[in-house]
């Protein structure tokens, strides 16, 4: 006897469209949600994320700001304190350096300093990452900086599905959430449900199950690691790929569980290797009972310790590429080193 299995055909959106849909659904559902940033109104955003939102919600809820990151961040923190739910877009995450006073010294601390009587339900969206030839001041991955600040949550979606679900969860969150989007992902397409769903902040996703090596990755590196894992599978190496999705709070348990199974760990991330996400993940494993399951040294593949070059060949060489991930994982599994 046959049973016919019907798979619903899910609509596909780009990463940028998924973010726009999340914003639009949040603004429809809650009048206190609004968005602000440079060129996000009529121009539609430097990467086209906000698109036509200004025509649908008006200039009071889709606000073009002057070129002053500190000013717009201060306005957003203030609005959040009064009960509004601002979603601030920074045109490039590199410009967050100008807004750090408001983020680090105000948004992150206010709830604690007022004994929980005030909170800052603020979301900051900003594109990071290299690969577009935008050079040293427009290509960095600075997420680990903010992961170091108690009071902040730091999210890095790698798929259109997560971009929407994590943004809606971030808007619901009563505390500041920083979302590091990736420039190379904005045009990537993937299935996105139409309803306003949430993805939990602080929960990793296992993109591929495997038993020989655990590859923990973030953002664009999760995409590359997954492609690398498929190539490794053809060689008989079964890699498990964990997309952290949130670096603070970090889903350490998912990593430990995987390492207890595979006995090998590789961390792939785009920020510079030194003092970054890789160090945090590695230390979490080394400090835990999963240490006794390690059968090879831990490997970090991070960005090179250089300002990102403009030269496209050097730019590629400065961050982990698919070939590098394949080679490193192969050596780790076959030879126990990199």
């Amino acid at each position: 006897m046959f049973t016919l299995k019907v798979f619903p055909i899910m609509r596909e959106l780009t990463y940028a469209e998924a973010i726009r849909e999340a914003l639009s659904q949040a603004m429809e559902a809650d009048p206190t949600v609004f968005t602000l940033g440079e060129d996000i109104g009529v121009y539609g955003g430097a990467f086209g994320v906000t698109g036509d939102l200004v025509h649908r919600f008006g200039t009071e809820r889709v606000i073009d700001t002057p070129i002053s990151e500190l000013g717009m961040a201060g306005a957003a923190v203030g609005a959040a304190l009064t009960g509004m739910k601002p979603v601030l877009e920074l045109q490039f995450s590199d410009f967050v350096t100008l807004a750090t006073e408001q983020i680090v010294n105000q948004a992150a601390k206010i709830r604690f300093m007022f004994g929980g009587k005030a909170s800052v339900p603020l979301v900051i969206r900003m594109p990071g990452g290299s690969g577009t030839g935008a050079a040293a001041q427009h290509s960095q991955s600075l997420e680990a900086w903010f992961g170091h600040i108690p009071g902040l949550k730091v999210v890095q979606p790698s798929t259109p599905h997560d971009a929407k679900g994590l943004l809606l969860a971030a808007i619901d969150d009563p505390n500041p959430v920083l979302i590091f989007e990736h420039k190379l992902l904005y045009r990537m397409k993937g299935p996105v449900p139409e309803e306003a769903y949430r993805e939990p902040i602080g929960k990793a996703a296992i993109r591929r199950e495997g038993r020989d090596v655990t590859i923990v990755a973030t953002s664009m590196m999760a995409i590359r690691s997954l492609a690398a894992a498929e190539r490794l599978a053809a060689e008989g190496i079964d890699a498990e790929v964990i997309d952290l999705r949130t670096i603070r709070p970090m889903d350490t348990e998912a990593v430990l569980k995987s390492v207890r199974k595979t006995s090998r760990l590789m961390v792939v991330y785009e920020g510079v290797k030194t003092l970054g996400v890789g160090a945090e993940v590695s230390a979490a494993v080394a400090e835990s009972d999963a240490f006794d399951f390690l059968d090879a040294p831990i490997v970090r593949l991070g960005g090179k310790d250089v300002p990102l070059p403009y030269n496209p060949i050097l730019e590629k060489a400065a961050v982990p590429q698919e070939d590098e991930i394949v080679n490193a994982a192969r050596r780790l599994v076959r030879e126990g080193r990199v």
């Binding site: 038993r211 569980k257 207890r260 199974k261 006995s263 009972d289 240490f291 006794d292 399951f293 390690l294 059968d295 090879a296 030879e335 126990g336 080193r337």
Partner: protein
């Protein structure tokens, strides 16, 4: 007479520990039951209380410094008594059950679980943490091996008995073994694999595991899928059986394994015996699941849903006939483990519509090895009367004063039975 205050052994795998915090200082007067210090092991922090009355003297070990088990940390002196000169322990280290105050007169005297020459720190020797742990658990001397890794580093695959079968390897990663001193030299009386029940773990056998090892058996216990340190998840009973078969395979090339299962683990033993490529020598089932349909289904659902120590405590009382004093930290650790929710899916496949979903009766009647069934008459989880389903060829032992955890209520009787010819 001066009473020694020593660093006690609280876990069989423990060979050193440290004082996390002194609660007393030299010159303090204490009485039995007063907190002396908090000790930390690689697993937990516990409180150690005074066993005698007197004045504390001779504290010399600072907080946070690792010292071997049995080290004399201080003295409790009678009034006017002088501090003894020697700091060497006057006796062998004692075992401290978490459930009782340490007392030197009635504490069981034990020899160290690991001969220090078996697991040395190996100056200059290179081995991965996994290889070191396997060697430690199996009593293998790493110096006798050559490593295949970079610069001769010993990796897990270089150890004997570590199968390349990844399923067996994974099961092995969650195996517990009890090693009495001199275990490498002695003649083995056989291999016993102890298989825990639902929501339990290998540590439940600590009491009888060591006793059997001391009587000359090679004793192992796996954490089944979804339990304890097992990296495998338990989606259903089949995952449990698979992980047990993996554990049995990992014991190759040992022959004639004696399987001892408790409750759900007993049912798993029956399935695994049928599937095991090697014959099983003997099967002992403690309060087995799968003989009848009745079971306290509320208990199973509640234990799978435990979120904190308060909800856990009353459930534990149903398991044994005698009252066990658990420390708050033990309860919290158990509750935290259960709170991860790993058992929810499994519990729903074990019990359906309030009745047991497993049935081992047909399989039991086709067993080729000797089978014995143990039940406690005071079992509140599975009624002992289900033995009525058993064929006459199967031996039945009833324990009048035991509950569901027979090995906890009547450890000595269970050890005697397991060590006997069968």
């Amino acid at each position: 007479m001066a009473v020694e205050v020593i660093l006690p052994r609280v876990d069989m795998a423990m060979d050193q520990g440290s004082v996390a915090r002194w609660a007393v200082k030299n010159g303090d007067t204490v009485k039995p039951g007063d907190l002396l210090f908090e000790m930390s092991t690689d697993k937990s922090v516990m409180e150690v209380e005074a066993t005698g009355a007197g004045v504390v003297a001779g504290i010399s070990i600072e907080e946070g410094i690792d010292v071997p088990v049995g080290t004399v940390l201080a003295w409790i002196l009678a009034p006017g008594e002088a501090e003894p000169q020697s700091k060497k322990p006057a006796k062998e280290p004692v075992s401290a059950s978490d459930t009782q105050t340490l007392s030197y007169s009635d504490a069981r005297t034990l020899t160290p679980a690991h001969d220090s020459s078996i697991v040395p720190s190996h100056e200059g020797l290179r081995a991965t943490p996994l290889a070191r742990r396997f060697a430690r658990e199996r009593g293998i001397d790493l110096k006798s091996l050559s490593g295949s890794g970079p610069f001769g580093r010993i990796e897990a695959r270089d150890l004997p008995l570590v199968s390349n079968d990844s399923n067996a390897l994974r099961a092995e990663t969650a195996m517990r073994q009890w090693l009495p001193q001199g275990s490498l030299q002695r003649q083995s009386r056989g291999t016993i694999l102890l298989v825990h029940g639902f929501a339990s773990q290998a540590a439940t056998w600590d009491g009888i595991g060591l006793a059997l090892a001391e009587q000359g058996f090679d004793v192992f216990a796996p954490d089944l899928a979804g339990h304890g340190r097992s990296p495998l998840e338990a989606h259903d009973f089949e995952s449990i059986v698979e992980s047990l078969v993996g554990a049995i395979q990992s014991l190759a090339p040992r022959q004639n394994i004696h399987l001892v299962g408790h409750s759900m683990g007993a049912a798993a033993c029956v399935y695994a015996t049928q599937r095991s490529p090697k014959p099983i020598a003997r099967l002992t089932l403690l309060a087995p699941a799968g003989l009848g349909s009745a079971i306290d289904d509320q208990f199973i659902a509640s234990i799978a849903a435990v979120s904190d120590a308060t909800t856990l405590r009353p459930l534990l009382d149903k398991l044994t006939s005698r009252h066990i004093d658990y420390k708050a930290k033990q309860l919290e650790a158990m509750a935290a483990d259960l709170g991860r929710g790993r058992l929810k899916a499994l519990s729903q496949t074990l019990v359906q519509n309030g009745r047991q979903a497993l049935d081992i009766c047909a399989m039991l009647s086709s067993m080729r090895c000797p089978v014995e069934v143990l039940f406690g008459v005071e079992d509140q989880i599975i009624p002992w009367t289900q033995i009525a389903a058993l064929e006459p060829a199967i031996a039945v032992h009833l324990f009048r004063k035991a509950g569901h955890m027979i090995h906890v209520d009547e450890p000595l009787a269970v050890v005697k039975l397991l060590a006997s010819g069968g």
